[in-house]
Symmetry: D2
């Protein structure tokens, strides 16, 4: 998932509580594929975040994060988009809560295309058009607006964390931009 | 469907050709539920058109119309939205071609919730947020922005043509505004 | 949610742990609308469970329950269907993980149509055709196969727990059986 | 589309009528990705039809065909599945009319991933699990049950007609079998 360096859940639970919960409960997440669309609604670009890696390799990710206690999905989407893309991004939040896919992240690789070594997360994934200007915040080093062809290229896909490359391919497939 | 007075298909076929085709082929249509959304993406209002009726009763309808030969669905959506809501409506066309429902209009009532005495039409239905200003054009007398509660009230529902009341209820249900 | 009497989460956590977590994390749930379909795939009946109530009033519910740690959604669906409808129900599990809606249950009523006084749960809702024979198990007193019209009647709707009546209406709306 | 040799529309219209209509109206189609699923609903195999080609090359296709006048989508699905897979196929028709994608076939290649040199067709695409036994009928020479990996292999994809390879990839992506 995208919370590589700044893991906000650390601030809500004591470390021993968190360790307990992470081995016993799945978390609710949202994943966002941020896109630029033309006047016809066709996708022109996909935003990919370059994050401060914990490890040495480059890691690219989508906007992603937990749904908090008593938080609506809409509010979680708005919060994570604001945190990662900045307050002027002007995202068009979805009118329906139905995701284009559900990504199941397991700590064990290979069960699904998604993997998160820290936890089990069930993530609702949405495509969100961005109308405004984005500015990297917190641990995001850079926001790259890639063409669909660039986003599915082997080089970029190899740099994406735990299944976010697969999510981009699924999002493009869902919109009829088959890959 | 909504083309109550201005039936553009009349201009493409001679009357005898049209009569022949209308009894032998289903038409491809698009239906649009135009909505105003707040910053969170939640629906605030639904646009309902008051059209010049052929008959004496008041008739309300959604944005709706045929897909023409060699026309993409996106282009048909843009064309019908422009025709009915005016050029300053700034609709947010969908990023995916997957409709929230498929409405099958039959000339025989009762097979589905949708009915069109003139023809068999298979219509892809989309929810489209409107950002700009709308002005009635052509045969549209008035555009009413109703709250979801008003739009599903018995009075308004009774004035909607051939199943468009059902489409509004389905659109709201799809977005979690259960009716 | 449906776990009115047999709350399996009690067996995984000590009471004080559970009290802690329930106030601080949303749970991942699945909801199922079990249906009988004819050869054309059209819904003939909806299964509604009559559960042993904690309180005095009658309570009807759908099949519903938590997704456990390291459990796939498919496996959670199979487990809860087996538990509530018996081992001979022969459910047709969905080929896609995309739910027909996402129900957000909050302990505070009125935020969404769904309510669970015990917890915040984010539930993926699926329509599942049942081919086999059902037998009530555990705390289920009776399984009623209602017609769509019966299922949305005011009497039945008033007996459904925390938004399950709304889920049935949304499921029928999604399939074109508009209510 | 799949009606390579047996084009049933020829029997409904005189040749000159058909030539007229094909240049002036889009047709309504259904496309089906027939699959074998395991008890969990996960796709094991995809059925691909080998048809008698008009031209010399081998051509593989999905189940596909027109929606007729006054025919429901459900009935069109049942009719084409029966015609191509035989009367013992026992398809599980979808409970909802919402397709997993809408394929727009244009006579001009390159506008979408789908292409039909004969006509413009708007096709609703469904994934349909098959429980029974299939037997090739009419112009179908062979029905191959391929694994998802085989179905997306370059060799098979190159033999698929007008975008049916893309439809298989989209169907698998929709079910979480990312390709």
């Amino acid at each position: 998932m995208s919370d590589i360096a700044s893991d906000d859940i650390n601030t809500w639970f004591a470390p021993d509580e968190l360790a307990l919960i992470r081995r016993r409960l799945p978390f609710v997440y949202v994943d966002v594929v941020p896109v630029r669309v033309d006047a016809d609604g066709a996708i022109q670009n996909v935003a990919v975040l370059l994050r401060t890696p914990r490890e040495e390799s480059i890691q690219r990710a989508l906007v992603s994060g937990r749904v908090m206690y008593h938080e609506r999905i809409r509010d979680a989407l708005a919060r994570h988009l604001d945190k990662d893309l900045g307050p002027m991004a002007l995202p068009r939040l979805p009118v329906s809560p139905v995701p284009f896919t559900v990504a199941e992240y397991f700590p064990t690789p290979g069960i699904t295309p998604y993997h998160d070594p820290r936890q089990h997360a069930v993530s609702l994934a949405y495509i969100v058009p961005i109308d405004g200007d984005c500015s990297p915040r917190d641990d995001v080093l850079e926001i790259s607006w890639l063409t669909p062809e660039e986003a599915v290229s082997p080089g970029i896909q190899a740099e994406m964390v735990g299944g976010h490359g697969a999510l981009i391919r699924q999002a493009l497939s869902h919109t009829g931009r088959v890959v």
